[in-house]
Structure formats: structure tokens, C-alpha cells
């Protein structure tokens, strides 16, 4: 796959990366919607129903594969492009660059790595348990995401780590969304400012929305 991707033009790779990224961005919105059901005071009924729908519906199953492919493509391309970028300046400046840049745009690789590590953790915490690769903790059924979530978020350090990761994701998305539009050639004086504002608001919503859940469980449920 790497060989195939490196034979493409740099612009083709960037377009693929942007499309995969935008797909992941929409998925995050759906995921957030389900997570917010945890705020419902119904003993997790709505959340469990949504989670089991996501786990059993056959159309969603197909999308799951697309989603994994999207993650994989975005991550592999990200690594590859970053490697090429490093190689493009073999001897670095003595005085590091002071040029004005778009906010957070220089930290896409760093924030990306944090999100990637979080993704691995997330797989161990939920997905691998669900598919039976990892044994669930005592007294929790492998598909009982609700109890699993409560257990994880009742540990303060875990909640803190979770929130830190979502701050990193928010920073990543803040640049990523408008950057994807630019890469796809959709930069127009008529709507680019709107794209930037909407992208920033959306990334803020993602960070705040996902962070509310552990805070809520930590302070109200626990």
C-alpha cells in the first residue's frame, strides 16, 4: 500500500488524505451524538440501544470497514507525507522559523500522534473486548459498553487523559477542516471565512462534547 501511495502525485495523496479526514470528521459527529446519550438519566438504556444498533446493523457493519479503511489511509498518508516533508529540508535552520502561520497548523503531526495513541487505547478499552480479543473486566459483559464506560470514567486519571486527548483532537481538527477544503481546491473568497469559522466551532463542539461525558460521570454519577 505504501509503495502504491508513494507512486501517486503529492497532490493526489493530499486529496485522499483530506477526503478520508472529512469522512472521519463526520463519523466523530455521529459518535458524539451516541456518547451524549450517556447524559440521559435512564440507566444507560438509550446509550445501550444506540450502541447495540451500531454493533448489529448490517449497513453500519459495512461502514465500519470503510471507517477502518479511512483511519488507516489517513494515518499511513499522514506518516508518509510527514516523512517526505522532513526529507525536504535535510539541514535545518539554526534559528527556528518565526513566520506567521495558521493557528496550530504546525502541530498536525504531533496532535495526530496523540489521537492515534488514543485510538489504540480506545480499541483495547472497547472494540477488542467486544470482538473477544481482550477479556472484559470482572462482572462486565463483553458487549456492556455502558458499565464499561462508567467504570473507566470513574477513574479520575483516565478521565483526565481522555480529556487531554480530545483537546489534542480539537486542535487537530481546528486546522484540519479548513485545510481539507483548501486541499480540495475549495478556497473561495465568498465562503472560506465561513468554512474556517464553522470548522473551528465544530472542533470546539467535539472537544467540549466528548469531554462533558467523563466530567458528568465523575461529578454527578459517581
Amino acid at each position: 500500500m505504501n509503495l502504491l501511495l508513494s507512486s501517486f502525485s503529492s497532490l493526489t495523496n493530499k486529496v485522499l488524505m483530506a477526503l478520508a479526514g472529512l469522512f472521519l470528521v463526520t463519523f466523530l459527529g455521529v459518535h458524539l451524538g451516541i456518547n451524549l446519550l450517556l447524559l440521559n438519566n435512564d440507566g444507560g438504556r438509550a446509550f445501550t440501544a444506540a450502541a447495540s444498533f451500531m454493533g448489529t446493523n448490517s449497513i453500519i457493519k459495512v461502514f465500519e470497514i470503510v471507517l477502518f479503511a479511512g483511519f488507516l489511509l489517513h494515518i499511513i498518508l499522514g506518516m508518509m507525507v510527514s516523512g517526505q516533508n522532513k526529507a525536504a529540508r535535510p539541514s535545518t535552520y539554526v534559528v527556528s522559523n518565526h513566520s506567521a502561520t495558521a493557528p496550530f497548523s504546525k502541530y498536525m503531526f504531533h496532535t495526530g500522534i496523540i489521537v492515534f495513541l488514543f485510538l489504540l487505547l480506545h480499541f483495547f478499552d472497547f472494540y477488542f473486548i467486544k470482538i473477544g480479543l481482550v477479556a472484559p473486566p470482572d462482572g462486565i459483559a463483553s458487549h456492556d459498553f455502558y458499565s464499561r464506560t462508567l467504570l473507566l470514567f470513574s477513574t479520575p486519571w483516565y478521565s483526565l487523559l481522555y480529556i487531554v486527548c480530545f483537546v489534542a483532537l480539537g486542535i487537530h481538527l481546528n486546522h484540519a477542516i479548513q485545510s481539507a477544503f483548501q486541499t480540495l481546491g475549495l478556497n473561495h473568497s465568498k465562503y472560506m471565512d465561513a468554512v474556517k469559522v464553522i470548522g473551528s466551532v465544530y472542533s470546539l463542539l467535539i472537544t467540549v462534547g466528548f469531554s462533558i461525558v467523563p466530567l458528568f460521570i465523575l461529578f454527578y454519577r459517581h
Binding site: 502525485s9 493530499k14 517526505q84 534559528v95 513566520s99 485545510s179
Partner: protein
Amino acid sequence: MNFTLKIWRQKNAVAKGEMVTYAVSEISPDSSFFEMLDALNQQLITSGGDPVAFDHDCREGICGTCSLYINGRPHGPLKGVTTCQLHMRSFKDGDTIHIEPWRAKAFPIIRDLIVDRSALDKIIQAGGYVSVHTGGVPDANTIPVPHEKAESAMDAAACIGCGACVAACSNAAAMLFVGAKVSHLALLPQGKVEAAKRVQKMVACMDELGFGNCSNTYACEAECPKGISVVNIARMNRQFLAANLLSEREKVVNISL
């Protein structure tokens, strides 16, 4: 004014370079940056030293030859000017000024502060032209060009090819340069015919020369002495996509002799 200069000295393309410290004194605030360097070189020559090699030509901001990376910024602290248009009044008395060459794999250092920017010429050779002779000045309005298109084309054509965009970019990408060159031709009727092929060829050449990929930090736009906008990069992306998705297979004409 007095300054401490820390300048990158490198004997030739293969030698190892290093920052060397010099002091200059009694510099007029109204002298240009290059006049200050001229003073330093005079000083070095008188004392039997080796003068600092740096690129310059027109010294009025139009040729794109000057290329110094000053205190972490291509062309120094002022916005919208080349190094040759920079004056010492933009610095404070007693400042330490770091001067380095542009750094990119595609811009190998020749000596001291001079780099080889012929990579940019190669990109132009790959497609930055109109193949047919477009003739003399036609009568007004024989070729309709909307005013906004003419303005945008002129804005893109303002690029002097200095390479500050590459120098500023954290990925040493040449996207702003190529975007500008693709745009100014594609926006005009004479350049439109070859637009699809041009963008493909120029991008392929850019990739081959080892420039980095764009991560849309827009440092290039911030440092461009001619204020070229990243809208030109988006236009290039758009045209590249369209060229790859929509262009028809070429008809092969067999020429038998």
C-alpha cells in the same frame, strides 16, 4: 547603529558550514541591509578576510535574486518586502542579527548565503509557458478577458520567484510558487488551452525535485514579498483534480515518414 551579526559561512557545496560572529559599527539607520553587509565585507577585505557571499541583483525588489533568512524569517522582519528593500531602521541599535541561507533539499547551498534555486526554473521549463506564438498586441477586446480575471492573473504574475515561500514553509514546499505560475497562465485565454497539461507537468516536476508537501500553514503567504495569496494554491489543487479526473485520453497520431 551597532550590530552583532551571526552569519552562516560555508566554503562550498560540500563543506560543513557554521555560524560565525561579526561586529559592525557606525551603520546609518537609513542604510539598506545590503549596504550594511557591503560595509562588513569591506571590513573583511581590508583585514585580509574572506567576504561573505550573498545573492543580489536589482536591489529594488523586482528581480527575486536576494534571498536571506534573517532572524528566522525569509527577507527579514518586514512584511511585503524583499531583503534588498529592508533597511537597518527596522532593527534596534545593538541587535544581534542571525543571517542564514534558504534551506531546502531542492535549494542546495553553493557558498555562504547563496543557494542554487534553479529547481524553480526547472518547474517553469516543465510547463510554465504558452507553446504557441500569441502574436503582437491585438486590438482591444478581440480577446475578451474579464477585468477580475485580468486582475487575479496579474496578482499571481507578481511572483518574482525568489523562493521565500519554500524557505518559510516548515515542509520546504514550493506550492505557492507553482500555484502562482499555474494560475497566472490558466486565468487568461492564451494560457487556458494548455492549462490541464501544464498543471500536471509542473506538479510532477515539483515532486521530482524533492520539495515537501503543503500542510496549509500559510507561512508562504505571510512571507511572500509580493503578497501572493494561497488562493492560488487552491486553484492549482482544483485544476490538478479536474485535469486528472476529466481529461480525455489523448488521441495518438501516427506520423509515418
